[in-house]
């Protein structure tokens, strides 16, 4: 097998050193009733050419070269070439978690930059080295709020991504943390009356998303005082990081969670992505996951290391802030390179282009909700069902928006459309045509 760097001669030499005559003696101590003496029922190993070809064939039975108007938590943004040039370096790709600071300053420094940029982007004081993804960051934030407030209830807006809400439920169901959903109004945004009704002294946190699942911006300036008045924490989530290039960040939040997939992470059929969790200064010791801190080395130079490890599972074990071990270092690096390349002005311009594209498209169909939106919006497909519209678009090699009926039965006749800087005007015109104006 070509990845195994030993000749049979070397194997024999090594066995002799150990004092064995054959490799089988290495497993002779295994009880007979556990040994698997058959052959695994798998094909034999194939050549590199065949591997590449296999995946090419699979890709060929996937959509190829289609324009896409899907968003809903995963966004099509251009990936600068520099990103892969950096992450393909073996020193980044194949390095281990930076527990040994002296030989991991590359990783540690870039994570420190990542943490800094996440704070700058979100308006928070501290951020960790990343979470698995946006969806799993939400329950982590909820658990943080429960620890901090010592209350146990969580309220979550229905305008938070449906799958994120599912993950929240699954993760909290056995921790004595009841989760209740908050309605939205006919403007497609959080129903403040419902919030007022459900807030109480038992509520640890209120979770909202902005831009929300329907693409609309929530009014945090109205939501935050209500939440505070009951001593609960405000958790704000986002799925479209590009919005933060232009949108006032959620400074009113106590904890911010989100997804940075938009920053040079391929959609890749659902993962891997990179989540973030950020918070106000005083909550730093309640953050889950890895944290990189600045310090000095023995020669007095600035250096970085993993810090506050006592929060984590490998030390605190059953009392840890979370069981999380891995962070998404390589993807966090992709996002860091992306943020560096675009920079302050670039992220803004990118966001402005997204805004323009989506508003152009929205002008040609009829958005369902009246309110400020970024690069996504809901539109009814009057006369045809969303599936019919998508079928017609597919014939034109266009992937249409997400039919909402599966998540919001009350929006069965509508779809969620997203337009980014990668969508061309002519394709948007086609979508408009297929929609037809009614």
């Amino acid at each position: 097998m070509r990845y195994l760097p030993k000749s049979d001669f070397e194997r024999r030499e090594m066995l002799a050193t150990i004092g064995l005559r054959s490799a089988d003696e290495l497993i002779a101590h295994l009880p007979a009733d556990v040994r698997f003496d058959k052959r695994l029922n798998l094909k034999e190993g194939v050549s590199e050419f065949e591997i590449v070809d296999y995946f090419k064939q699979r890709a060929a039975s996937n959509a190829n070269g289609y324009a896409s108007f899907l968003g809903a938590g995963v966004y099509n943004h251009y990936r600068p070439v520099i990103v892969d040039a950096v992450v393909s370096r073996g020193e980044f790709l194949t390095s281990y978690t930076p527990y040994q600071a002296e030989i991991s300053q590359g990783t540690l420094t870039s994570i420190f930059e990542f943490q800094t940029m996440v704070c700058q982007l979100t308006g928070m004081d501290v951020a960790n080295a990343s979470m698995y993804d946006g969806s799993s960051a939400v329950p982590e934030a909820a658990m943080m709020a429960v620890r901090i407030t010592k209350r146990d209830k969580v309220l979550v807006a229905r305008t938070v991504h449906p799958e994120y809400r599912e993950v929240l439920k699954t993760s909290t169901q056995h921790q004595g943390i009841p989760v209740e959903e908050l309605a939205y109004t006919k403007t497609g945004r959080l129903d403040l009356d419902d919030l007022k009704k459900k807030l109480s002294d038992q509520v640890a946190a209120v979770i909202v998303q902005t831009p929300n699942f329907f693409g609309l911006l929530e009014e945090l300036k109205e939501i935050a005082p209500l939440v505070r008045s009951k001593g609960a924490l405000l958790i704000v989530a986002f799925t479209e990081a590009v919005a933060l290039g232009l949108m006032e960040p959620p400074r009113e939040a106590d904890i911010v969670v989100g997804e940075l997939q938009s920053f040079a992470i391929s959609p890749s059929y659902g993962g891997p992505y990179v989540g973030i969790i950020a918070a106000r200064e005083q909550y730093i010791r309640q953050l889950p996951g890895r944290l990189v801190g600045e310090t000095t080395d023995a020669a007095g130079h600035r250096a970085f290391c993993l810090t506050l490890a006592t929060r984590e599972q490998h030390i605190r074990r059953e009392k840890a802030t979370s069981n999380i071990c891995t962070n998404q270092a390589l993807l966090a690096l992709m996002a860091t390179v992306f943020m560096s390349i675009y920079g302050k002005e670039g992220l803004r311009e990118l966001a402005e282009q997204n805004l323009a594209k989506a508003h152009y498209l929205a002008g040609k169909v009829t958005p369902e909700f009246d309110g400020p939106f970024f690069n996504e919006f809901v539109a009814r497909t009057n006369g045809k069902s969303p599936d019919q519209v998508n079928a017609e678009l597919a014939e034109k090699k266009i992937i249409g928006g997400l039919p909402l009926g599966r998540f919001y039965p009350e929006l069965k006749g509508a779809m969620l459309l997203c337009a980014t800087e990668m969508n061309k005007r002519e394709d948007m015109d086609t979508v408009a045509t297929v929609f037809g104006k009614h």
């Binding site: 010791r285 490890a309 006592t310 030390i315 605190r316 009392k319």
Partner: protein, 126 residues
Amino acid sequence: MTYPENFKYTKEHEWVLVEGEAGTIGITDHAQSELGDIVFVDLPKPGATITKGQTFGSVESVKAVSDIYSPVSGEVTEINDKLSTAPETLNSDPHGAAWLVKVKLANPAEINELLAAADYQKYIGG
């Protein structure tokens, strides 16, 4: 390091100094030396109730956390604020400036079950 005669000790390496109905609690020199450089101390708030034998906080070094077990039961009247900005005091002066909490004892008789200085010293093999 000598262990003050007027302190009482636990097998979990806490000490308590009782003066009438008031007690002052800390961790022993042995404990701080096992932990290494202390980086953080987690204490309850004034007004909290603590119970003999149960944990009421923790002490952290870079690579370890140690729960603090209460030698007595009572109500926390004061906590040592200095430790939040200078946790290293626990390393340098664990029996003096780095006391953790002061309590109003609920049951002063509890201290009879604790170790005297000589017994604690023997227990840790000193």
